[in-house]
């Protein structure tokens, strides 16, 4: 689509307001990773909901055991996992709910919430030590 959707007049709209996920056919979507799909301009993928956050989850590879709890319980598909390995957080789609931190089983946690404005390097430098068993 040459024109931005926002600039379209009534006469240029798709009848019935149908929206399309992709701009070209994808034979089997389960074989194409998110981010690698030919998203159409009417797919929300390019939208960011990152500005909903006041705190962000920061990932610390050093303690992660790749259990994938954060991946399965993330409501917003914002835990990036490839080949069974936890890679990081998709800050465009993370709304900052904090579930990933709560479900993280390691000690210390491999994911922690930090203020949105803090650089990740700073956050990692402040990482707490292992908590003693109560």
């Amino acid at each position: 689509m040459a024109k931005d959707i926002k600039d379209l007049g009534w006469n240029e709209l798709i009848p019935g307001a149908a929206l399309f996920s992709f701009s070209e056919p994808v034979e089997d979507v389960t074989e194409v990773a998110i981010d690698e799909r030919p998203y159409s301009p009417t797919n929300s993928h390019e939208y960011s909901v990152g500005d909903w956050r006041v705190e962000k989850p920061v990932f610390n590879r050093d303690y992660c055991i790749d259990c994938q709890f954060c991946w399965v319980f993330c409501p917003d598909i914002s835990i990036i996992s490839r080949d069974k390995k936890m890679i990081g957080v998709d800050y465009e789609h993370c709304k900052g709910c904090g579930i990933c931190v709560e479900v993280c089983p390691t000690n210390p946690k491999s994911l922690l919430m930090f203020p949105e404005h803090l650089e990740n390097e700073e956050a990692l430098a402040k990482w707490p030590a292992k908590e003693a068993k109560k």
């Binding site: 006469n11 009848p15 929206l19 399309f20």
Partner: protein
Amino acid sequence: MAKKYELNEIEVWDGNTAVSHALRQARIDVVAAYPITPSTPIVQNYSKFLADGYIDGEFIMVESEHSAMSGCVAAGAAGARTATATSSQGFALMVEVLYQASGMRIPVVLTVADRALAAPLNVNGDHSDMYLGRDAGWINLCAYNPQEAYDLTLMAFKIAEDLDVRLPAMVHQDGFICSHTAQNVRPLSDAEAAKFVGEYKPVNSMLDISNPVTHGVQTEEDWHFEHKARQHNDLMNSKNVIKRVFDEFKTLTNREYNLVDNYKLEDADIAIVAIGTTVESARIAADKLRDEGIKAGVLGIRVLRPFPFEEIVNALSNVKAIATMDRSAPGGTFGMLFNEISGAMIGSGKSPIILNYIYGLGGRDTTIEQLIEIYRQLDDCARSNQRKYPLQQFIGLRGPKLSFF
């Protein structure tokens, strides 16, 4: 593969039988329906055709008319040709989904045997259901007899599914008086009908899994208006496709259809405007007046939506007095035809005398004598160039005369 149904050149069919054969011949993929008087035989006949092997598609015997129309919309979104039938309360239950069908641009065909709306409960014919759905964004085609109900049902698929239209279409016939009255009908053969209607061309099918599509979105103040404008525009322009399909049908069958059905209007001084079987009665009444030298004519609405503004104005441009006949309780104002015909005439700079008659509610018979009396009132007005009668009168009603304005 469905069996071929052997048909005679002339069949004696009532309106429901005629419509059910048209549905069978249209080779519908999914019918979702719920029976209701007086359209029940359409649903029953279709079930029997299916049971006897005359239908390839599926029939979902849903639990309500709401689900009937919902099923049609969803099947249409999945790439199926779909249709259903209803009347009255069933139509009323469908109304929510009628708007969804047209807004989602799913070309469902709905055949309606028009019937009164409760309360009080009534199973007989009037146009209350038709009027209830008139703003739903559907194409509305109106039949006056079983042959027309058959013809218009076949044509409805071709019109609704046209890629320039993609809007749902209703085919109306009067409950009982048309739906249950057997007359001679000349059907097409199964092959001719199938060829005329054509293969269904799915648009944005949900089952095309390589191109996932989202149907039934939400649009708020920033988009809703544009989508409704587009929908209205396409409905208004569907007139051209309707005319083209009417022409193609005439070439095939020699049966002619027009947006409005004019009867002796060329030189008419007075005219009745009506929908449904009353159009045929009015023609008989008009002839009787013509025998007396009074130039009477009839305008039958064939296509209620899109509203045939130019055709109505052209047909009535020299008429001095017009009776608009509304077979639906007007609910606190004039009847719909009065408002729309008046608007059309004023909008084109004409000012004939226009009267509104409310008639035939709940299947009350309307006689030739009553129609003649209406013509006499019109003649009186036309000759004196004065409106000598109330703007709105109820006719055929027991008790004191009821009129307004």
